[in-house]
Symmetry: C2
Subunit: 478 residues, 2 copies
């Protein structure tokens, strides 16, 4: 597919739009092993920007990074009952090393609670060693059957935070703190509105006491779980014997948490903001924030234009910019190309702009005339900064309005089943597994989360009519 071939429209076939766009924008490609992906430079730079934005927040909240091994003895997984049940079907197993069959097979980590729990039991001896606040950036492998680039791949990239605390309360606070860090990141860096909330027992992490999530609505109204934070109680501390001497010199089991956000979030960005022309990337994370396209018809024009371009490139060096000076394609081709790649802001400079001391700005989030303006070259850096800020704001507001417009308050069970076909429902729920299963069976919609922000009061379960204390989001999900 050449770069100017047309994408399927989102309305026509959202799923194909997504698949083709990821390839066409050169975010990722299929690897030769089923279900694995290659993250190409444009996609990886986006991920690096996500990493930096998160890592800064992790360090500000007192965390440090470390690296734990990829390979875990198979027996480790079996020490936590729910954990092994959850992950056993998804394991990649190394049985041969250095030409010899291994005595104990090793698994490639699907997540690192077990290996990290083992190490924490060695390191933590006293309350003085607590809290331990460690994060790891790395790759994990889960043998998924139905895979899609970024959304669900055999190998994926993520960060996993693992913390240990002296008290239950501290661990719970940490769990919520990191959930809030994710929400803050999603909103303020990615312009992705998210709902922070609690997972149901059926949907929680295998081995957790409670799992929290940030849920986002994609452009087809499906939900995407975009980051999770787990309060693990003392489950892993018991399984791996993480004990410490407390202030009274008595042995106690530690309280642990884990929290993760993965390359799946790249999918969240694509599906929250993209349109029929392609990607629309949030300015703070975009690999290229500003593309400059020089326009000229002859050598005299070219040299006058490029002189200004060079000056502006200098002025804009605080931004991630790209000058597209290719001679083998037309400006129109370039406009389409960079729109497809989602660059937030385009600057066009032609001979008239040189004369007038102006440039044309084109916002990616407002296609056509609405997003176009002519501004002086003087003070361009400030103008660009302000415009990128406006783009972020308008992307967020549009996504929020879309979610609100597609979130329903059904008045009956039948209406619930109907509205979740094209949106989310926020409804009272009695919190029984039966009601949850019934909805899933009838509509494929699952409980996404019990939002932390509740309306208050009480209601009747939308499914069974029994008293309900909290509302829950029902939605079809990725």
């Amino acid at each position: 597919m050449s770069t100017n071939d047309k994408l399927p429209s989102r309305g026509e076939n959202f799923s194909e739009w997504y698949n083709q766009l990821v390839l066409k924008a050169e975010l990722a490609d299929y690897a030769p092993v089923r279900g694995c992906m290659v993250v190409r430079p444009y996609g990886w730079t986006l991920w690096e920007n996500i990493q930096q934005a998160l890592d800064r927040r992790f360090k500000e909240t007192g965390h440090v990074n470390a690296a734990f091994p990829l390979l875990i003895p198979k027996s480790f997984l079996e020490k936590e009952k729910e954990h092994v049940e959850g992950f056993s079907p998804e394991l990649a197993v190394v049985t041969i090393g250095g030409g010899e069959t291994l005595e104990e097979p090793l698994i490639i980590r699907p997540t690192s609670e077990t290996i990290i729990g083992h190490m924490y039991s060695k390191w933590i001896k006293s309350y003085r060693d607590l809290p331990v606040l460690i994060n790891q950036w790395g790759n994990v492998v889960r043998w998924e059957m139905r895979t899609r680039l970024f959304l669900r791949t055999l190998e994926f990239y993520w960060q996993e935070g693992h913390t240990a605390h002296a008290t239950s309360q501290e661990a719970e606070e940490e769990t919520i703190r990191m959930l809030n860090v994710y929400a803050d990141f999603a909103i303020n860096e990615a312009a992705v509105p998210v709902i922070p909330g609690l997972k149901s027992d059926q949907e929680k992490f295998a081995g957790a006491v409670r799992s929290y999530t940030i849920e986002a609505m994609m452009g087809d109204t499906r939900a995407l779980q975009s980051g999770t934070s787990h309060f693990l109680g003392q489950n892993f501390a018991h399984a791996f014997d993480i004990q410490f001497l407390d202030w009274n010199n008595e042995l106690q089991f530690a309280w642990t948490t884990s929290w993760g956000l993965s390359t799946r979030f790249v999918g969240a960005i694509i599906m929250t903001h993209g349109d029929d022309q392609g990607l629309v990337l949030p300015p703070k994370l975009a690999p290229i924030q500003v593309v400059i396209v020089p326009i000229h018809k002859n050598d005299a024009e070219k040299s006058a234009v490029l002189e200004v371009v060079e000056r502006l490139r200098q002025e804009l060096r605080g931004f991630r910019i790209k000058v597209d000076d290719r001679s083998e394609v037309t400006p129109g081709f370039k406009f389409n190309d960079w729109e497809m790649r989602g660059v937030p802001l385009r600057i066009e400079i032609g001979p008239k702009d040189v004369e007038k001391g102006s440039v044309a700005l084109a916002r990616r989030d407002l296609p056509g005339k609405a997003g176009k303006s002519f501004v002086p070259q003087q003070g361009l850096s400030i103008q660009v900064e302000q415009t990128l800020g406006q783009i972020h704001k308008s992307m967020f507001e549009r996504a929020l309005a879309f979610r609100q417009g597609n979130t329903h308050d059904p008045q009956s069970y039948d209406e619930l089943l109907q509205v979740v076909q094209t949106g989310w429902a926020l409804s009272w729920w009695c919190e029984s597994a039966e009601c949850e299963a019934k909805v899933k069976e009838a509509s494929k919609a699952t409980t996404r989360c019990i939002p932390l922000d509740q309306p208050g009061g009480e209601g009747r379960c939308i499914v069974c009519g029994e008293p309900a204390r909290r509302k829950v989001y029902f939605a079809r999900a990725y």
Copy 2:
């Protein structure tokens, strides 16, 4: 082992000094799987600082990052004959995925030339697509038998650059460019003097036409290969069919390179600079550049001292600093502790310093009185910056003088065999595999590299007496 237990001295047992220091300074720990390591936060922060210093240089030389999969079909490795011979004995093999035996076993990448070659053959069609300049930060697995923390582990962390070019000359230039990037990094960030040079055919990378290396002398005079850059010719382009249409519209095979530097370099830093008190970390890479130790005997002193400490913490916020305000240990304990951990500069502040408006500075690289000075609090930031610069310079010069003092110019084969027991030899060599093998057999010393910087002229091979065009370093190596 508690933190103030004594290390073995380097002279007594260098190897045990190294092993115990890595554990004691909390750089790394043994993982439950034989030969794997956990890189602890202090060690990982050092690695992150190495990563940033290198990544900046990679980007300045036009490279971008991407991520290729961990799992590679076994058949891929077999496409390049020398490559498979080199790596086959070291493979970790996944034979089970999702509970099923795999039709084709997958290997965990020991290096990524094959999978990247496969992708490049998809992406590269025309000379316009070249050069491709991609780097990857990641983990690889090699099933080593004799392992040591950082120096040789089953799983290790590294970057591997993989580039493709239209001409042989461009690829050769790239190979040397990246070798020079490594040398520049080693010297200017890590204060590790290195010799850039060419590997012998016996010592080169499996599948390369030519391999280059930076070699460093460790504190026991052994050599450590600290980074390598390979000119791969068209070997991998033939094996993976990386072809492009050239300017004349004719199909050509691309020319490729690869280059890597790993967590092994952490070992280079430890063994180049460390002393009997522990680590001595180069200021530009040290996780903590400056530690402030407040000294006080009573509450009045404490509050006066901590007020100054807080002010200086603000003034020094441009540095990576740590205030050690632990109350359960003495200042003397803290001095030893941070010396063992290699913090380049210590600032002591006691009641007298508060009175005088001064602080005591103690340089890690000059133990005792020689490294101690008293300076005004006023302008401390500039003083610290200058002192860290001096520390870097003096660490580099000391390591260089050590290497020079232990590099010999033996006049006979017998003398060669003798000097390589306690140092390096720089000698004329006829470049035959036989002479190289003979020295190895007799002394365990191998050819480390033919330095790019040659004395000129000609000589006689130190082993066989035949004419020789270039000198080579012989040394025992890690």
